[in-house]
């Protein structure tokens, strides 16, 4: 792991509120080149907002985002984003979609690039088909192709497994594994603990706008993480379990030294168990 390198992205004290609702609260996060970071959390935890802030689709209410490359106008070139929505035109063909976006990104040889990406995603046969005729899995791979067109340094994936069947999920996982081998930096939001943990090099749990857990993948077991996750995010489940009511001190995981922050202490400066620091 490129442990000592410079962070590709550093978020410090990011807060985003919608009206009176806090989506992200005083969040700090560092992402290093080659990281495959999985972000878990229940609905409404602010995961999507976090990704949108990184993609500069939303301005944070306060806090700072720093990319390793200082030129802020180039930030958009550094980020590839796969959202809940496909970001594709149903009435254009797969090829036309990629060509359109490739031109928006100012890619010199847009046609070749679009062909190349179609081939990479196994869609070369479907290039001239309208996207509206695509299966969910094909559409999702085209969405990923769109996000990768401009070779972004940082890829943001927001629940890419939603709506995919087993076959589609497997194909998609293969593509993601390929990206991991290429050493790309990826932030993946998912509900699917299995897929997420299989892929990631580092796992994070976000709950009510706060990162409550953060650890490198090799530092914990999968079964342990699942237990930890449900304790962390479900207040109802917590109170039912005897011994899990120790909300004042937070739950500790011995192996990882990671702390689960209790929500009351949000405003404090947190030290999340990041082994790099």
């Amino acid at each position: 792991m490129p442990a000592q390198s410079h962070p590709l992205l550093r978020l410090s004290q990011i807060t985003k509120t919608f009206g009176t609702i806090r989506a992200v609260w005083n969040l700090d996060l560092e992402v290093y080149p080659g990281d495959f970071l999985a972000i878990f959390g229940p609905n409404g935890a602010g995961k999507t907002t976090l990704l949108r802030i990184i993609a500069s689709l939303t301005q944070p209410t306060s806090g700072r985002i720093e990319f390793s490359q200082k030129n802020s106008s180039q930030n958009r070139q550094q980020v590839g984003y796969v959202s809940h929505q496909s970001l594709l035109y149903n009435e254009l063909t797969g090829f036309e979609n990629l060509l359109f976006y490739a031109r928006l990104y100012g890619i010199g040889n847009a046609q070749d690039r679009a062909d190349e990406m179609l081939a990479k995603m196994g869609l070369e046969q479907a290039g001239d088909q309208l996207v509206r005729e695509y299966s969910r899995g094909m559409k999702q791979r085209l969405t990923l192709a769109r996000a990768l067109l401009h070779e972004p340094q940082l890829l943001l994936l927001d629940e890419p497994y939603t709506g995919l069947d087993q076959h589609g999920s497997r194909l998609f996982t293969q593509v993601l594994e390929g990206l991991k081998e290429e050493g790309r930096t990826v932030l993946l939001i998912t509900h699917n603990l299995g897929e997420g943990l299989a892929l990631c090099t580092r796992a994070v749990i976000q709950h009510r706008g706060v990162l409550v857990f953060q650890a490198a993948r090799q530092e914990f077991e999968k079964s342990e993480f699942e237990k930890l996750y449900f304790r962390a995010v479900e207040p109802g489940a917590r109170s039912q379990e005897p011994g899990a009511r120790s909300q004042e001190s937070g739950v500790r995981s011995q192996e990882s030294e990671s702390r689960i922050e209790k929500s009351e202490s949000r405003s404090q400066n947190r030290e999340v168990g990041d082994q790099r620091s």
Partner: protein, 245 residues
């Protein structure tokens, strides 16, 4: 109750209510003076008669409408630059007051126009038509406000519409006046000759209306701040309750 809620409460609107209170004192005396000026001090207009006295209220209301819409413009512009919600409160409060006073202009106008021009609604007059368009623009502004969910996006959109709306007003005025010149209508200008007493009464009236605008603005600002604070406190209390479960 956590420190957060106490912190929020300190931002409450007490200061604006205090300012409103202080404004009410001069407003009271000014209103008495303005009424005296309009009904007793100013002479009766020779041609139009007593009905012309509505002029002092009509012009005062129009002045306030203009001030208010300038407030919407200024609030919107400042919001886009600073992103401080305070400016949006200013724009919103101004728009509400502006619509009220434009409505007053549009109701006092016909009362005056009917006996003088023998028509309730002199469509050919650029002032009448511009006021009408102004009224439509700012009612549209309020409809837009109520259609958008609370949040930073709402303030931005309203700011954009407020700016375009305000820039549109002189263009509307100009185009209607030009349109009038090529479509002459029966109604001609009144050619009023204002006597000095009338001007004095008008000046007092306009000052009174300005103070009235400021008082209403402070009152509406206080209400807006209070309701947003109340909402925030409610949200925090809800969060704390959820966390205690």
């Amino acid at each position: 109750m956590s420190w957060e809620i106490e912190h929020i409460l300190t931002r409450s609107a007490a200061r604006y209510l205090r300012i409103t209170g202080w404004l009410l004192i001069p407003l009271y005396f000014l209103m008495v003076l303005a009424l005296y000026g309009a009904f007793l001090y100013a002479p009766t207009e020779k041609v139009m008669g007593e009905v012309q006295r509505i002029f002092y209220f009509h012009v005062g209301a129009a002045w306030n409408a203009f001030l208010a819409f300038f407030g919407v413009f200024l609030g919107g512009l400042a919001y886009l630059i600073t992103r401080k919600q305070w400016w949006d409160h200013l724009a919103a409060a101004s728009a509400e007051i502006g619509v009220v006073f434009t409505t007053i202009v549009l109701t006092t106008g016909p009362i005056w126009a009917k006996p003088v021009w023998n028509t309730w609604w002199p469509w050919g007059d650029p002032r009448v038509m511009t006021t009408m368009v102004l009224w439509l623009i700012y009612i549209a502004y309020l409809i837009l406000r109520s259609s958008l969910p609370e949040g930073e996006k709402k303030y931005r959109y309203c700011a954009v519409f407020g700016i375009i709306g305000f820039l549109d007003v002189p263009i509307v005025w100009f185009s209607i006046r030009w349109w009038r010149t090529i479509h002459p209508l029966v109604i001609t200008g009144t050619g009023e000759q204002l006597e000095p007493e009338m001007i004095h009464a008008l000046v007092v009236s306009v000052i009174t209306f300005t103070v009235l605008y400021l008082s209403l603005l402070m009152l509406r600002m206080a209400m807006r701040l209070n309701s947003s604070v109340a909402e925030e406190v409610g949200q925090r209390l809800l969060e704390e309750r959820v966390e205690r479960v």
